[in-house]
Assembly symmetry: C2
């Protein structure tokens, strides 16, 4: 029933467990590849494949030279963002998550941040949001650039909550949806509408008005879903548009 996993996978799991359980501390050096070969009684290639697996998950980093080796990596939030976003984006595309579902998740999560952000946002966060709003209002901006600015705006909102765990979790939801958002053709009118809502959201955050922020986010969520539905209707016509 159970296909025996590769040796390299087993060894990777063994070391990973040691890291997760805390048997191996951050910064600690693993035995050299030769020593690991002896310990696990496998060849060096197999050990190396195991180590590469761990490196791909940012669990270890390797260094060459006399005092080199593999070290338990301190996983930083910034490092995890990238993987989180890649994974989320693939999940959305490979599982054919429809725009409505992705949008719902994104705004539900963002809504959760809004009260905290209203309470704690710094002047810096507010400045970032205002700057992105200005960019979004520029005529001649490509749809891609508009979307990227939209992401930056919402990232600032989320970061304003001052909770790195929330920021991390939301990075996936907010950024992974960008490819889906990029399918929307933003007319001048819809951009005006969005920029207007963004401005009012920034105003509400500046006034530290949590209720108003949430209400505006709900409005924006509804409007975004509406825009998305027109895209969904279009995609019906060209099902395999590659």
């Amino acid at each position: 029933m159970k296909n025996a996993p590769d040796l390299s996978a087993q060894i990777a799991k063994s070391i990973r467990d040691a890291i997760v359980s805390g048997d191996l501390d951050v910064g600690e050096r693993l035995p050299s590849e030769a020593e690991l070969s002896d310990q696990f009684d496998v060849s060096r290639s197999t050990v190396r494949e195991a180590l590469k697996r761990l490196a791909a998950q940012s669990l270890i980093r390797t260094q060459r030279g006399a005092t080199g080796g593999a070290f338990v990596n301190k996983l930083r939030f910034e490092d995890a963002y990238g993987q989180q976003i890649t994974t989320s984006a693939l999940l959305l595309s490979m599982n054919a998550v429809d725009f409505t579902t992705a949008c719902e998740a994104r705004f539900a999560l963002e809504r959760a941040c809004a009260p905290l952000s209203a309470q704690r946002r710094s002047a810096d966060h507010l400045a970032t949001m205002r700057a992105e709003i200005t960019r979004q209002a520029q005529p001649g901006l490509s749809d891609e650039s508009f979307c990227a600015s939209d992401v930056a705006f919402h990232r600032a909102l989320v970061d304003g909550a001052g909770n790195p765990v929330l920021s991390y979790q939301l990075a996936g939801a907010v950024e992974a949806i960008e490819p889906l958002m990029n399918m929307i053709t933003f007319t001048a009118r819809s951009r005006d509408r969005i920029v207007g809502l963004h401005t009012r959201i920034a105003d509400a955050l500046e006034a530290r008005d949590a209720d108003q922020t949430v209400a505006l986010l709900d409005t924006l969520a509804d409007y975004t879903a509406e825009l998305g539905q027109s895209v969904a209707a279009k995609r019906k016509d060209t099902p395999k548009g590659n």
Copy 2:
């Protein structure tokens, strides 16, 4: 300035980009290791290390035999859960995220699910929650088992929202916090309190009362934070309690 990354990392990136961009479709077979060696002009070992990196991210799966090879894996939500939880747990422990911050994030996200769950939860979700409540009320339950059941209860609540994207994002927040929760010693009184709140949450969901669900979650969040603070106070006494 920039350390040239390993060949295997470069090759992994090259293939990963092809997958993310859609150049390689789900289920498609990659060239054999020998062919990849030729294409990238490296040895087979290097190609293998690159493939192991991708396998560690669940981007490909390999199969032995005549028609075997490496295939672009369909990334399923269930596959991503595990990685998400491992990463989140490591982020919390390695960055010394305090209980309050983690707890805040968890309940903020869960709160976002509550209205949707009140609207859409199935009888099945409700039954799971009731079953976990029953388990939690049993005397003699270990703290670990109590926590595990707590996680299962909240997972059911989140799944009730019927949005796989939300469930995925929340898996990390809810499950990664379990190790921190496990540090709490649940007295008979605190268990009673929690079980009581869980029961009222289940009741509210059964009645599809979103407002009440959110209010009860807020109460539970406050109480959990309170319990966590007593743990934090204790940990001050034994800073390196290993």
